[in-house]
Amino acid sequence: MGRQSSERVVIVGGGIQGCAAAYFLARAGWSVTVLEKDNIGRHASGANAGGVRRLGRDLREVPLSLAAMDIWKDLPAYIGEEAAAAFHPSFYMKVAIDDKGHGLGLDRIRMLENAGYQHEIWLSKRELKKRLPQLEGPLLGGVLVEGDGWAVPWRIVRGFAKAALDHGAEILEGCQVVQFSRHSSGVWKIETATGSLESDWVVNCAGAWAARLARKAGDLDFPLSAHAPMLAITERRAPVLPAVLGVLGHTLSLKQLDTGQFLIGGGVRATADLETDKAGLKIPEMATSIRLACQLLPGISVAGILRCWSGIEGYMPDDLPVIGMGGLPGLVHGFGFSAHGFQLGPGVGEVLADLVIARQTKVSLKPFCPSRFG
């Protein structure tokens, strides 16, 4: 830590990445301001499926995911008991229902073993039947991670926001960045809808809007696209599903919340409009995921779907986030999580803080290099 702790940092975006970064920076004594154009956790961070999952991560993302999990496991120490109670660890399971899925699962376990990771394990057909006897259909086995689970996303985001506030951070909601630029003195001047401020560092956690922000700064033109992954929630039913469930080679994520409600997702994308902030809903396109859910748990078919929603998320062409130093001094990026950033959030917050404070991180950020697309 070779730097003064009185330096100022502005974080743009009050999602989980921005709020976690704010927490770690404020805790380290930095003067932190979060600028959020809507309200905390308004878009992808509050409207995602809440999966806290190491399972199925891109190999290049595994170290970051494992580091993030260390924080999740000790969450009360970071955001307090009350907010941390929104995390429900159990186990995460991706089952194979066809030969393709079976092959994918076995290949994956082999690949992880070769890389030295043991957190994902293969369950045979019989072990799977024993573990989740309530599942129906042709089940050929599955990949399991113990200790993964789900969380109520907005409560976790709010938890980090509150923890940041408790450490002296400032969070300005309804505060959109209009313009910002770096002066020759090395200070960022940020014009917002409600006033202007100065800062030594800017951390770009603006999610789907991050490429626009980077352009405003005069940094790279990021190939970031915006979509709105859709979710459906049912009415309450008696508890039958202790695990978060996915299907190898298919789009489904299914979980039963503590309220008894089933949450059905799987990343089917609807349109997103970055001008109006409106996310579309194409409910029929969820039918495939929903059919799969009915096949695995036939009892779910009589449950009424109460609501569908989607949150606007930024996607990169390689489905990997952008995390690292920007092309301008004092600019750090952390965005483009391509619909799997929620579990990473606390880890990303720590990494972003380390980048700002010490310019180095405990996990390698090479795969997430901002300039990887030139």
Binding site: G46, R158, A232, E235, L281, P284, A287, T288, A293, L306
Partner: protein, 465 residues
């Protein structure tokens, strides 16, 4: 998903607005599909009025107003309009594809134009004990009467408004005993109401009819007005009604049934979920869609007619349906045929008494926001006023931020029962007027559609159900 089933116009709801619009559009050469959630035409006001229904023959106690709907329903049945009843619409997409569920399956149909004529709901009246068995709304009591001549002897009616008196009058005519009528309005209408008396007199007949209903109710029941502080209680079901009478005296009535009513407000869920712009109406204490004089919404191919566009009653619903249909017909390049003469004037005349009635029956917010913090506000999630107060104290800006503190409005009814109350509570805490607060962001499906129905949706594609 465009295919041979596409229609020029889909009308949602076969109440007076929907039926009148459908007839005009059909006559003028448009292909029209009517989607309606009831077993037969009529809507709420003319429920089950169809020419072959039992009601038309035997339910004379409902009064002549009710039977006016028979003419429209008869013509509708004889017309070329395709009607699908028991169709529960749950989404209208940006490209006018209408999704609905019917008898356990889901389907969709597209149209160039959509007319929402999906009517009104009763304004929720969250008072202590309103969730007890034995308590329901006056509208629900009237529905039972219209559906099967069913009623409860010895019930107490609590509230006010035109529908309140009409229903009690029908109840008495149907031969049910009414134990008491507790009118929450004062005997003398608020002074402000008389500003609107002149236009209202243009429809003196309607006022006179309302007056006659009220006079008969006053004569034949144990009647009190100016009633305040109503509280319902009982062990597992309604047993006792406590209230403060006009003179400030605390009183009690023993009763097993109470029917509540504080007026009606537009159904907003379908329109809001379809992305129409809505504005808070301080006069009617409700949200209503932003419409032009033809009922055209902020989405140019979507129109709203009838009480869903603002409460105005059955006769206005008819003329508003005709105005919307005429506009849609012209936009579709055709000429309206058999357009009633002086339609715009008639529409205006039909609307004339409304501001007076609105002012006369506008409920004080006491009936919208319970004073007692133990009263349940969000019935689906069982949340009390106190719990919403608590969230508000933590700086919740509006209904949409509330969900990160508590689950108000997130249940089965999608805030139909608590939306306005929650908004008033948050307004009170923030010191901002209700109109400045967002309403709940409503998302399809606007009514629960089962997982099984959705799963079958893709398989059903291309077939009406």
């Amino acid at each position: 998903m465009s295919n041979a089933r596409d229609y020029d116009l889909i009308i949602i709801g076969s109440g007076p607005a929907g039926m009148a619009a459908a007839l005009l559009a059909d006559r003028s050469g448009l292909s029209v599909l009517m989607l309606d959630d009831q077993p037969g035409a009529g809507g709420q006001v003319y429920r089950q009025i169809g020419p072959n229904s039992r009601n038309a023959k035997t339910f004379g106690f409902l009064g002549e107003e009710y039977f006016r709907g028979g003419d429209l329903a008869g013509k509708l049945e004889a017309s070329g309009v395709d009607c699908i009843h028991q169709a529960h619409v749950w989404q209208i997409t940006e490209d006018n594809e209408v999704f609905y569920s019917r008898k356990g399956a889901a389907a969709s149909i597209r149209a160039d134009f959509i007319l929402m004529a999906s009517g009104a709901q009763e304004r929720p009246m969250p008072i202590p004990g309103w969730t007890l068995p034995g308590v329901m709304t006056v509208g629900a009591a009237q529905t039972l009467l219209k559906m099967s001549a069913t009623g409860a002897d010895g019930a107490v009616f609590i509230g006010t408004g035109p529908l309140f008196y009409l229903t009690i009058w029908q109840y008495l005519r149907a031969g049910f005993g009414v134990k008491a009528v507790l009118d929450t309005a004062t005997a003398i209408p608020p002074a402000g109401a008389f500003r609107w008396i002149l236009p209202a007199l243009l429809q003196a007949g309607i006022l006179a009819k309302g007056w006659a209903w009220r006079a008969e109710v006053r004569k034949r029941t144990s009647y009190q007005n100016g009633v305040r502080g109503v509280s319902l209680s009982g062990d597992g079901k309604l047993e006792k009604i406590s209230f403060i009478d006009r003179l400030g005296k605390e009183r009690e009535i023993k009763a097993g049934h109470a029917f509540l009513h504080q007026g009606v407000i537009p159904n907003v869920n379908l329109g809001m979920a379809a992305g129409l712009d809505y504005r808070w109406d301080e006069g009617q204490l409700c949200w209503r869609p932003v419409l032009d004089q033809h009922g055209q919404s902020s989405r140019k191919t979507v129109f709203v007619a009838g009480d869903g566009g603002g409460i105005a009653g059955a006769s206005v619903a008819v003329t508003s349906g005709q105005l919307a249909a005429a506009r849609i017909i012209r936009l579709g390049g055709k000429t309206p045929r058999g357009l009633p003469a002086f339609l715009r004037l008639r529409h205006w005349l039909n609307k004339a008494p409304r501001p007076f009635l609105d002012a006369m029956f506008r409920p004080p917010t006491d009936w919208i926001v319970p004073e007692d913090e133990k009263v349940i506000v969000c019935r689906c999630e069982g949340l009390t006023r106190g719990e919403i107060d608590q969230a508000a104290k933590m700086g919740v800006a509006g209904p949409n931020q509330l969900k990160s503190y508590c689950r108000a409005g997130m249940g089965r009814c999608q805030a139909r029962m608590c939306g306005i109350t929650v908004q008033h509570i948050l307004a009170e805490h923030s010191g901002r007027p209700v109109r400045d607060l967002d309403y709940f962001r409503l998302r399809p499906p606007i009514r629960p559609v089962t997982v099984g129905e959705l799963a079958m949706l893709a398989e059903n594609d291309g077939q009406a159900i």
